[in-house]
Symmetry: D3
Subunit: 283 residues, 6 copies
């Protein structure tokens, strides 16, 4: 490798204070379906998470899994229906969502973490009744809105040294199960944990003033400015609910929220351990 | 209710020493697919488990789920294949097994425990790499044989007050996933935990000398006699591997193993908390 | 025994939540001289107390012992004197009271608990200066009124796993010893301990509207109603100070107070562990 | 006071290392009936014990009470009988012994300790089944011989900061109560506690070569020499069993045993905290 | 030794309550250069400190060392300069002060404590940045005034069982080192530690109304009176800043401050452990 | 900075496992007088030590200080004498050695660590009697040889979060003080601590086959080969005792010993946190 010892020392003297700063602190990583580009990429991301965990950072992973759900629904010849970008979820569909998210995607991430030398426990919002929900609207069926989160199981697992991996499913008091947007779950969990930061791994560079020009990346957004950016159309479309989750997380006590391009190799290591930020930071 | 105070006192003075004896001790309950007769019955069994947990018994639940797997395979038009009573499992089938066991049956039991006032965490053998496996035979595909169990996650969860619910899936060091017989998993887990007892909830009365006559129930079997009972044909068919698991569990340090008729209401309460045994006890 | 498994399950499912509810909670039992009918009965009551202790309830026993005191005074040819139902206690009599209560009755109960498999430590109000007193009135001599209670020794013994057994004797700051009414001591101790409940084992059914008709038992009394019942003559005679102790205990933070017929076999088990109340409950 | 500062400093520099040496160590004091000369003297001895306790020594007091027993038996017109210097104890006498030792003498010492600012808990060998016994001989009735001691309650009370005060009564497994020699109980308890020392407060100067001449005091006896002293008649009469208890205590692991003249004011302070020994030391 | 047992008992019964009272409490001893009369005297004082430590008192030693500094400056041909009784300290002098105080006097005291059986750790105000300072005045050079004290290292060492020995040197945030008056450091450290008492070992009897007549010693001074005593000239000269430190210490939460004649043998033992005070007490 | 994100990620993914491996482990760093090239360099080295400490490595610093000692001796017109490369140390010289090492060099390093954000406690071998010594030979005066090391104070300080900084001075049981070779002290301390590694910062590249050619650096030496390298003359001169200390350290349980060129910037960071070794490793 062509990196000189002086350069190494530079990287290390820059990284070590971050390592100390994050020691024993909680970072919630939201790993969206769109950023799960290949199996190799998933393996690399899980490797980064294990590294962060090994130096004493308490990492919590919240994941989505849209593409996998669609594929299974198709195999079972159930036609997915969407309304305003949200999946309409009848009982039969919910059964599949639950199976795919908690039984397939979740366990595969757990398995990859195990393969990278970490120890993960896969959870859904039903485990320990962590995520309580109610219907988001009558028309959407079993699409849920979070009413309450209980992070005790996550804290217990962190204390025992595990990496909790959470699928975005919840239930109401009667036991009905709901499909919930993973950004929302990650924001609420991070808020309740008073996480030091929430890193949302997406398939975009961050917030761009001109979506066609990466050089127009806005690197920092104070949450008080977010509504202006929406009003001015700089934040638009599917990015709006994402940003609203970021704002919500900060309001509930998360230190910093980052929207980063999860497809970039080792994006999370660079973000966490160097002075140079990538993506957009909300504070 | 027609039970007199004197009778109540009798039941209680009989039960209290058992309650003391089991306090803080581990009981592994294997809940087989055959004993999951109705949703109402499942709810009742989970209620009993919560009661036992509430009086300080550390309950671990291991479950199967054959019927549900078959149903989903059918829905996905995958034809189940069996060889010597064991499901032949190709990669596609394994995917379904994993989804149904860990994503559906497991989470439903977790959900019912939550509804009964308990707090459960659903696990597979992949979580915390708890169950390591290898192929049972070349022909059976992803049917696994247990090579190693790691019960630390179960102990951590018990210490934190949860009821661990485990689906019978494992993986090898490379991350390949295997479907494993739930009796075997329960026996190995119980052995490693040095459980006070393992209760196998099945769809039979126990070991009967004459299978057509319930009155011929053998209430106690010393593990040293088990092979004679097999040789003499008293234990036969599908009961043979079940009994071998019982013997294995005792050999690995479990105090007592019970095969009981899980379809009987509150069977597990009666078995645990009264002088009167039901089913067959191995010691 | 003619109790069916279904009936057993009923008793148990009813009892288990109480067992959980009382776990690690404090129950003060006042065992009055009148309820100490026979040695066999004492042994049975101590057996019940050991059972409750074994399932994790922190039991404190406060006892009286009037009949035994009278008998010994007689043997020593000291004529007992009473004034308004309270024993007039000169120095010589006090010496005998102290010896009989703390040296005989107390140690016999301790001995019976030991015989039933429990571990008790017998105490008087002098030990650890737990009960401080002053003369109730000039005429009654060494009959005391509680001025202060110190429950640290009781808590220390409970924490170390013992059943504290307390005789109702106290002393003032100069070391003079006083005979105190056991109901009062039990109420004050229970109040200071913020006990979950105080169970007073007496020789009556509880509060009866018509003392000749057991069917007129009042099963619940709100402490705010007690004075009306006294005014209306429903509570009268020796029951008045007893009820005043119950009211006092509730006011000082005890959850529930029960006056039960201690002569009924296993009365305390039925009261504590079933839905069916016996006697009168104050709340 | 005529003691100069230099003399004070001498006493203190001599005492402080002993104070450090005894800190957190156990001293068992046997306070015999013969040394309980007056109430004022008892108060002074209990004051010394409280001082020792306050500087961190874990003091255990074992007491006798012969004179008080005789007096009460007399009052109750029960004629005391002796055989070979041991009281013959029928059931009626045992009742009185128990009442006087555990209900009167014990509680008076507890009360004096309380008055001196300490916190004592009075115990008999029945409490926590600490002293198990069997009949010493058929003729002596309820005179017991120690078969087993259980010092857990004493250790629990020491840990909680109390001074345990123990009367020399024990019981057998069936609950029969026995009167036991206090020297024996003290020796066995000290041995089981591996006490740093056992101090026996008696009414003699120690072992004298010539009983009429205090100047012939033997200040140290190696336990291996004790039998010679008995054979040679230097130790004789009632001193023989006392010395045998000393030897027994050393054999069971007590560091040092002292026979001192308990009637001398502050004898125990001088013995414990100065270079100058009084009485006879066994090692 | 001519001290009778009765006199010993008197000294001990007087001392023991003080020993209890001081157990686990902090005493700060300021040992001034003037009181370090001979090596033998230093050994005796360190011996007393070890004795106090051995009976459970948490002793902190703060020392000066003027005479030794002067001697070394002389050897190095650096002329000491004084201004208003305070040493003018240039960089070269400061280097010597630091070396002598922290490298010589400090380590000799540590060594003497080790020789007396104690375990000391020598510290300066630089260690753990315990004493932060700024220049007292422009003219005095590196003579410092305390701006902040951090006693965590002292508490950590006390908790681990050591005797901390502190030289009166501090530094500012940039790392410049300052020579600080030892009385001031002792007073600030004692105040921050909320010490039970501060004992200042000096070369005077205490505050005398008539400096020529020891019989006019003022044994107690309420801090509110100190300014009157200064105004009236009774406290004057070098005693003024000393007394101001005493007042400061009391104001910052120290229980009692004593100015004693450190040249008297065992002065500190007499002061701490007898009713008789020597020197002047501020409260 | 011209380091790309990919390169940063490479450095980090390489470093993180080392960081985990060293977490909570002990590294002893020996900082020799020869490597203390400038004040700025000392500041940089102390900065590296603080960084290592901040990521959870328990760093112990042992230092020499020959040049500073010589300079002060000169100032005090004491002529340094050497015999076989070891300083002959009379009482007067020893006084200076002690003052310079423990009062000057030690406190300056402590001060620099404080300035870099760490918290150090400066110690000599006298503190807590950590280093016991005896004369190395009659002719050398107060030059000592280690007879015993007591690392409890170092462990206590590490547990409390401090960086212990130790000067190489010791004493014998009588309190005579000795100057000891810093390599020896570091090796013995590291051995007693069972340190994970000992890093000796010197003014050479390591062991060179040809001392004039840096390319002939021997990067690894098994301790069993060291004597051959000495015999063959590859290790010679002042390097021989250094290497003997390395061998001694490994024999006493240190995991790895490194001789590195302490003059290279950040040498210790590169050595500890990258795959690339610099200098010579003994194992």
């Amino acid at each position: 490798m062509a990196i000189s010892n002086t350069e190494k020392a530079e990287v290390l003297t820059q990284a070590l204070p971050y390592i100390q700063k994050y020691r024993d602190k909680i970072i919630v990583v939201k790993y969206g379906g769109g950023a799960m580009v290949t199996k190799a990429h998933q393996r690399s991301v899980m490797g980064d998470i294990v590294l962060l965990n090994q130096i004493g950072i308490r990492v919590v992973l919240v994941h989505g899994g849209g593409p996998e759900i669609n594929e299974t629904l198709q195999r079972m010849r159930i036609q997915p229906k969407f309304q305003n970008g949200l999946r309409v979820t009848d009982a039969e569909t919910m059964d599949v969502v639950q199976m795919v998210l908690s039984g397939k995607v979740n366990k595969e991430l757990v398995n990859l973490i195990g393969g990278a030398g970490g120890s993960a426990i896969g959870l859904s919002g039903l485990d320990g009744r962590m995520v309580e929900a109610k219907p988001l609207s009558a028309e959407l069926g079993y699409v849920g809105e979070v009413t309450k989160v209980n992070v005790k199981p996550i804290l217990d697992l962190l204390d025992a040294g595990y990496i909790p991996v959470l699928s975005s499913v919840g239930c109401d008091k009667k036991g009905s199960v709901y499909n919930i947007n993973a950004d929302t779950v990650a924001a609420r969990i991070a808020g309740e944990l008073k996480a030091m930061c929430l890193v949302s791994m997406t398939d975009t560079k961050g917030i761009l003033r001109d979506p066609k020009d990466d050089a127009t990346l806005i690197s920092e957004v104070n949450v008080s400015e977010a509504s202006h950016l929406i009003r001015d159309g700089i934040i638009s479309g599917g990015m709006i609910p994402k940003v609203e989750c970021c704002v919500e997380a900060i309001r509930r006590g998360v230190g910093r929220v980052f929207i980063i391009d999860g497809r970039v190799p080792h994006a999370i290591l660079i973000e966490a351990l160097s002075d140079e930020g990538i993506g957009t930071m909300f504070f």
